[in-house]
């Protein structure tokens, strides 16, 4: 289909090592529309890198099919390469070379003339704010500078689809925020970004949609909001002056309440959308003459989603 950046059906990859067989990716079906920031969230060893490497033509799949950037991954790997950028987990720049030299060389590999490649390198250096270090060896870069250069190398040919494998792992919070900004800017320019992460907050804050992957299988797909809502809903807790049972009876029958309990002098309500439910609750209590003491809204985290879908917490499994 024209509108999709990625479509996979039954994508698989088996690794045979000396003493065992590992099914790193165990049949992945997914669709990523153009222009999305799509996140692959999962613990170490879930199969994120393996999936990415297959989609980026680096690793032949053991089974399944995929369309990447409008081309058949298996039949037209050359065309796929021209349309995608890939920034691996390890980065990709050589410590002994200057950042600018790497960018120019990369541009030349995509067929640019020397002048065009130099121009593109200069533009990327300005865009990624690498002026201070572009003419030094990569070995002297800070972690954030190195990561931005690696991303720049993936952007040289202005790909329509960019793969980023754990783009912020190991970065300090400031550099992470900087990379997030960069990803959002690519998104604004219309580039589809497919990134992997094992950070819950990153998936939550940055991605339009995420797929949760565990043991080589996708266990849930959707926007972070959808996933969280689907699993638990928002939790509203409140207490009133005096007649708690009256408040409980009043609220538990409301259409927006999925589940209601009382506990330790508090009413606990699971609702679909807390921001809609809160004003309604306030109005209802007010018209019933019940006076509110406290009210709080608690939203489920992606970790609750992960826990529900896999039976484990990502915080515990992530290394």
């Amino acid at each position: 289909m024209e509108g999709n950046a990625i479509e996979t059906r039954g994508l698989r990859r088996v690794f045979k090592t000396r003493n065992r067989v590992v099914e790193a990716v165990a049949g992945v079906d997914m669709t990523v529309p153009k222009g999305e920031i799509f996140g692959f969230l999962g613990p170490n060893g879930a199969g994120k890198t393996t999936t990415l490497r297959m989609l980026a033509t680096l690793l032949p799949p053991s089974g399944g099919t995929a369309m990447v950037a409008g081309c058949d991954l298996l039949k037209q790997p050359g065309q796929v390469r021209e349309r995608i950028g890939y920034v691996g987990q390890a980065g990709g720049s050589d410590r002994e070379i200057m950042g600018r030299t790497e960018l120019v060389f990369q541009g030349r590999l995509y067929g640019m003339s020397l002048a065009a490649a130099k121009k593109r390198a200069a533009d990327l250096i300005a865009m990624l704010e690498l002026e201070v270090c572009a003419d030094r060896k990569v070995a002297t870069y800070s972690g954030g500078q190195k990561r931005r250069l690696d991303i720049g190398l993936g952007l040289v040919h202005d790909p329509q689809l960019l793969f980023l494998d754990e783009p912020t792992t190991g970065l300090d919070p400031q550099s992470r925020a900087r990379v997030w900004d960069e990803v959002r800017r690519m998104h604004d320019r219309g580039t589809t970004v497919f990134l992997t992460t094992h950070y819950l907050d990153e998936a939550d804050a940055l991605c339009d949609r995420i797929a949760i992957i565990d043991h080589g299988k996708i266990v849930a797909v959707g926007s972070p909001e959808e996933l969280k809502r689907e699993v638990a809903g928002d939790l509203v807790t409140l207490s009133v002056v005096g007649n708690l049972p009256a408040a409980f009876d009043l609220l538990k029958g409301q259409p927006f309440v999925r589940e209601a309990t009382t506990e330790e002098g508090m009413v606990r309500l699971y609702v679909d959308r807390g921001e809609v439910a809160m004003p309604a609750i306030l109005r209802l209590l007010d018209s019933a003459g019940l006076q509110l003491v406290t009210i709080g809204l608690q939203r489920p985290s992606l970790d609750d989603v992960f826990l529900r879908k896999t039976g484990r917490s990502l915080r515990e499994t992530a290394a």
Binding site: R53, A56, T57, L58, L59, P60, G78, R81, E82, I84, G85, Y86, V87, G88, Q89, A90, G91, G92, S93, D94, R95, E96, I97, T101, F105, Q106, R108, L109, Y110, G111, D150, L153
Partner: protein, 253 residues
């Protein structure tokens, strides 16, 4: 043509890396010098032993040295490739449309150029000691050494891509290149060896290269062993390049 352009680009990258590292350049020049100054003087007396080919100690010894330089100069090139695998450089290059053959040839060309320059230095330095050779002979010998370099480098890169770790690459390279070298008559002519050693050496492709180089240095350019040695190295190089390019095509890092 795309392959030529890509090869040139890849060569440029790696030549730049090489030339900007003064250590490698100095090692490249000092190595042949050491052989000439510290090893060659031993030869003058050995040259008088019966069975030693005529033509002078240097004309017998220098060809062997050149072959050794071609092989040892290229056997270690996989180390830098393994470092690059770890930095993700190879993945990054493989995801571009660059030709897989060029990824190999560009690098190997860099290795060959450095080997050829070292060989030239060695030949020039040996002249005052009594080495004699004509210009055509120099060209033929350099071509032969370049082929040995290409052959060895291609195999070394393929091995590095398969093994992906210095811990398994180093022992493989050293344990395989030493017997190959010893059984090629590089250090001393196999004419001095007992029959059983000569029979084993006959199975060693490199011994034909040494024979060819020696024939050239003894002024026998028309000798069939020259054609045989060069042709054998050329055929093996082509096979090794195919092997190496395939390794670059499917490298799993």
């Amino acid at each position: 043509m795309k392959v030529l352009r890509d090869t040139w680009l890849v060569f440029g990258r790696y030549w730049g890396l090489f030339i900007h590292n003064p250590v490698w350049v100095v090692i490249g020049v000092v190595q042949p010098l050491l052989y000439l100054l510290l090893f060659a003087p031993l030869l003058s007396s050995i040259a008088k032993t019966p069975g030693f080919p005529s033509g002078g100690a240097y004309n017998v010894f220098v060809p062997g040295l050149l072959v050794q330089l071609g092989m040892f100069g290229a056997a270690g090139v996989g180390f830098s490739l393994i470092a690059e695998l770890r930095m993700g450089v190879i993945e990054r290059l493989r995801v571009t449309p660059v030709s897989r053959v060029s990824l190999l040839l560009g690098r190997a060309l860099r290795d060959i150029l450095s080997i050829v320059v070292q060989s030239l230095i060695l030949i020039v330095l040996a002249l005052p000691f009594g080495l004699s050779i004509n210009p055509i002979g120099v060209v033929v010998v350099l071509a032969l050494i370049a082929l040995i370099g290409l052959l060895t480098a291609s195999i070394a890169y393929a091995a590095a891509l398969w093994l992906r770790s210095e811990d398994s690459y180093a022992p493989l390279i050293f344990t395989s290149s030493l017997p190959i070298l010893l059984l090629s008559g590089v250090l001393l002519p196999l004419g001095l060896a007992p029959q059983w050693l000569r029979s084993i050496a006959a199975l060693n492709p490199l011994s034909y290269a040494v024979d060819a180089a020696r024939a050239v240095f003894l002024g026998h350019l028309g000798n069939p062993s020259v054609v045989k040695g060069v042709a054998l190295m050329a055929v093996l190089s082509i096979l090794a390049v195919i092997l190496g390019a395939r390794a670059f095509g499917r490298a799993v890092a």
